[in-house]
Amino acid sequence: MRVGFFVTCLVDLMRPSVGFAAISLLEAGGAEVFVPPSQTCCGQPAYNSGDRADAIALARKVVAEFDGCDYLVAPSGSCSGMIRTHYAELFAGDAAMSARVAALAARTHELTDFLVNVLRIETIPGRFAGKVTYHDCCAGLREMGVKTQPRTLLAQMPGLELTEMADCETCCGFGGTFALKFGEISSRMADNKCRNVQASGAAAVVLGDLGCILNIEGRLRRTGDTQTRVLHVAEVLAGMTTPTLSS
């Protein structure tokens, strides 16, 4: 089984450890991982900013890069959601591309969904001691149906205690360029999220999208919380949870 790994631009730039953690999980589940070297971005920033031409150009690039893979897996509900639920609309009226996009969409998965429902991974390689809470990132939850998958995996880790926070499905306020354009609303939404994380008593909030990680961690640190850790679910499952500043 040849699994095309879509790194995502944010993991590539900001936190490569998430990419390596994801690859180790896929390999632990028996997948042969292929990383198309020319990949950059799924095009979502352009798409959500109304720049269709660039979104289409980048979507074509992704479709071509993953044509030969049995699956496309991304450590992100947002980027996999872009590919699986939004590419089709970009090529409406283009029969040839529509067919390729539909075929790619059908084999595109968010990481934890792929581990649970396709690889049916049985042994979680990572170790984690302590209480964590899970934040449901919007696109993962509402576009990719990611809800039970990460919890199922985390629950198998001895030493890890999963506790639910209030409003775990409420947006953290990231929203891509929204966080820059409407920083004041965005940070208020992040405040609500931080408060719920803290009230849960968890030592770490675990989630599946790097954009939300940057937003939540950035707001926690700015408001003086140096303790609560903000971890990608792949890092936890792979046992690669080194503190970010030394990663």
Binding site: G19, G50, L58, C138, F178, R221, P243
Partner: protein, 473 residues
């Protein structure tokens, strides 16, 4: 209504720092969301009902001209007069014409958001007539010098009980109350007199039923029943998109409307009003008028955001919107706030007058999943963003930044080189704790939060190095 949507950001800043408003919003947030959730449990098949509701609304819109003509025919057959308003100004003119024809001096109104679009109350008062709002929320706003509504079903829910008590004390000259029931009774006492002395009642219309020529009103206070049956003239005003083919269709939609709106299985009152008072009937208006309002709706129907016209005005999208929950409804600057307002306002008042609204969303799609008629609200917001981008309505810095980024992202080798430099430069900006506190061109981010610094090497660099190591032991 005056459009204030261009002041969105300034208003947001004020509202986020208004402690009273924030306290009121927190109360609101804890109310409608769980009520809706509990009410939906009663439905055997929520998704199936939702799909049926979507289909009813969409196929009606697809043949709207046919259904409107049928409605007109059936309403006229029952003695009502059907009038058409192409613009908001036409609404006001038609209402004043009707008032003049019947010698009307006092008008009572039950809630109508469509009449807010044309600021009907101001036009009535300017013509020297009296108008009294009878929906409690609308009444509160009216006596507070026509404060704008902040929510489509709870126009005054940005106000606390104490604020309302102080307002009643000041405006009615009564002793200040501190009990909601007493406040309601006080308003009721004031309004009762007006019901009995008004010459004309104006209502909105939740649905216009084509097969019967009826208007359906969904309310909780009973004011609509009084306002539409006691005066000799009843005028029902609503948008042309509110047509529903049959009463059977209304029944389907009514399974979702109150549940989605207030979490009620059924609203306290559902009025189905058909025609004028007949022989032997005790209640009802002697003269009945329908004003069907276009005011931008046919343009929406012809646009790529036409699905927004399926809206049945339940308010669930705003109740569940994390942006609305934090800022309230006033910042949106016009009649319809929240996610649906972010589509309708730019379409009805001009995209150039509401530049921020299609952008003021994280596209989290909480609105889309609760919408009882499955309006893909984030997709429609994105459609408006595409229009803004195509028409050059975004700041040049944003367009240039996007173009530059996309130019690199389409050229993998150059992108790799640029990002190698970029992550090193950003790494250099980080403090000892690994956080960047000031980002060039990223003030919108770092004014409010830190930016966790990048690791300093891109994944692609590290992955290539790893592959090389594995290849040469």
């Amino acid at each position: 209504m005056q459009v204030a949507s261009m002041h969105f950001k300034a208003r947001v800043h004020d509202d986020l720092h208004n402690a009273q408003l924030q306290a009121n919003l927190r109360k609101f947030q804890g109310k409608f969301v769980p009520l809706r959730r509990n009410a939906l449990v009663e439905l055997d098949d929520f998704e199936g009902t939702r799909e049926a509701a979507r289909a009813i609304r969409q196929h009606t819109l697809d043949e709207l001209d046919t259904w409107l003509a049928l409605f007109e025919e059936n309403a006229q057959a029952r003695g009502a007069t059907v009038l058409w308003a192409e613009t908001p100004a036409d609404v006001n003119r038609l209402v004043l014409d009707i008032a003049a024809r019947h010698g009307v001096r006092k008008i009572i109104k039950s809630k109508s958001m469509v009449s807010e679009e044309s600021a009907l109350d101001h036009a009535i008062e300017a013509a020297g007539l009296t108008v009294v709002e009878t929906d409690l929320g609308e009444y509160i706003l009216q006596i507070n010098d026509y404060e704008p509504p902040s929510h489509i079903i709870g126009p005054a829910l940005h106000k606390s009980k104490d604020e309302v008590a102080a307002l009643f004390h000041a405006k009615h000259g009564t002793a200040q109350k501190d009990d909601i029931q007493e406040l309601v009774l006080e308003a009721r006492g004031v309004l009762r007199e007006h019901y009995l002395t008004a010459d004309m009642g104006i209502s909105g219309g939740n649905f216009f039923v084509a097969e019967t020529g009826s208007v359906v009103l969904v309310t909780n206070e009973g004011n609509a029943t009084l306002a539409t049956t006691l005066p000799k003239v009843h005028v029902a005003i609503s948008g042309i998109e509110k047509i529903v083919p049959t009463l059977e269709d209304v029944a389907t939609l009514m399974r979702l409307l109150p549940r989605s709106a207030t979490g009620q299985s059924i609203s306290n009152y559902v009025d189905v009003l058909t025609g004028t008072k007949g022989h032997g009937e005790v209640h009802g208006a002697e003269h009945m008028y329908f004003i069907l309002v276009d005011a931008g709706r046919s343009a929406v129907l012809a646009s790529d955001v036409r699905e927004a016209l399926r809206c049945i005005r339940c308010g669930a999208c705003m109740n569940h919107c994390p942006v609305y929950q934090n800022i309230g409804g006033h910042a949106y600057g016009w009649v319809y706030p929240g996610p649906i307002g972010s589509i309708l306002t730019p379409m009805y008042v001009g995209l150039e007058n509401a530049l921020d609204l299609p952008q003021a969303s994280t596209l989290c799609n909480q609105c889309g999943v609760v919408c009882p008629v499955k309006i893909p609200l984030p997709d429609l917001q994105r459609k408006l963003r595409e229009q803004q981008f195509a028409r050059g309505m975004r700041p040049w810095t944003e367009r240039a930044g996007l173009r530059l980024w996309a130019w690199f992202a389409r050229r993998p080798a150059l992108y790799a080189a640029a990002t190698r430099l970029g992550v090193r430069a950003l790494r250099g900006l980080a403090g000892k704790n690994g956080m960047i506190t000031r980002l060039p061109f990223g003030g919108g981010w770092t004014q409010y939060r830190d930016m966790p610094a990048p690791a300093g090497r891109t994944f692609r660099e590290l992955y290539r190095q790893r592959a090389q190591r594995q290849a040469s032991p």
